[in-house]
Symmetry: C2
Subunit: 197 residues, 2 copies
DNA sequence: GTCTATATTACGATAGAC
DNA sequence: GTCTATCGTAATATAGAC
């Protein structure tokens, strides 16, 4: 179909193809043959660019994790009242997730069968813990409703946020689209979470 | 360790073991060898009970789908104002999910690589559509807040509900546990969704 | 950088004994 | 009902030519 001449692959450009296939078929369900067909080069050519399948996974989940941990270093996540920091981190997580949806999708589906996968799971738990601590602080400030368990609420909140990967697909030139999603998530979450005025 | 004498396997008891392993390693990441080790019998013995790996998957996702579609046939899902039916279905979905968590987990992770998987995805979409229609009806009644997109809200609501499979593990003799989770989910969801008084 | 050819291992499934 | 042994295929990865 698209007989467009492309440049030679780099690990980076190959990753784009690989992550798409990983998300379509699942990581374990994807063979090097599948990747080779999708990239339009032979299996052995792929090994010229990367050490193997697992390196592609490592690069992908690293990118997702960098995006997520980056949020915690932003001023909005470090300053101000805890409830405001929670809201900031929630909104930014939605935004990062949408910006990096193929990479975050892969991260969220990792099972723990290989060393790389276990490392990814560990780092993800670390992120969840940092967010959970923020929620606890907001609860201690009395800014979260007292009739729900904080641990449970945290899980449900981020369960809702993470579920975006199941259906969200980026459209070029549609920042308004993303803004609306982020706004709706925050609104749904916090109109239920925040202490009533 | 536990050298307890067990009865011969049936397809049903074998399924319990298989679904646990599928959820730990992922369906594609699980080999017949893995199942054989976990069940404590040889690979070929497994084939005496079931036709193969895919039959185990089919039995598992069928059980999950039966549970979910069963909800829609209950009186609470068919009678009354739409908003009340939505709330009923939401609560019951949480309950079924917790009661059948290993089976629903497997269903929610299906990718579509085989015929069985594509059939599961199709039936799941059917369920989502039925629920989505309920939400639309509630919106038409004016019982859902008008400032959020209904389609988006439906996805987020069931994204939150489905995220239970990521962490919920059943404890014997703890119905109170389940009641609290169901109550919290409904409260968080609907205090944000329902029109304010 | 990309290819064809191939080594080696793992997988799903079957044959046939007990 | 369970086993050992094995078949045929598909997987990851490498060798070596161009």
């Amino acid at each position: 179909m698209t007989a467009v001449k492309r440049d030679t692959y780099t690990p980076e450009t190959l990753l784009t193809v690989a992550v798409r296939v990983f998300n379509e078929r699942g990581y374990d369900g994807t063979s090097m043959e599948h990747l080779s067909k999708a990239a339009g080069i032979s299996k052995s050519s792929i090994y010229h660019h990367v050490a193997g399948k697992e390196e592609l996974l490592r690069r992908a989940v690293s990118r997702a994790l960098d995006g997520l941990f980056g949020i915690l270093d932003e001023p909005g996540a470090a300053r101000g009242r805890a409830i405001e920091r929670v809201e900031y981190v929630t909104r930014r997580t939605v935004e990062v997730l949408m910006a990096e949806v193929p990479y975050v999708t892969l991260l969220l589906r990792v099972r723990g069968n290989t060393k790389t996968e276990r490392w990814a799971l560990e780092r993800r738990r670390e992120f969840d813990q940092r967010v959970s601590d923020l929620l606890k602080a907001a609860a201690a400030d009395g800014d979260l409703r007292a009739d729900v368990d904080i641990r449970l609420a945290t899980r449900l909140l981020f369960g809702m946020v993470n579920s975006l990967v199941e259906w969200y697909r980026p459209h070029p030139d549609d920042g308004a689209d993303r803004d609306q999603v982020a706004e709706t998530v925050v609104r749904l979450a916090f109109d239920g979470l925040r202490t009533s005025p």
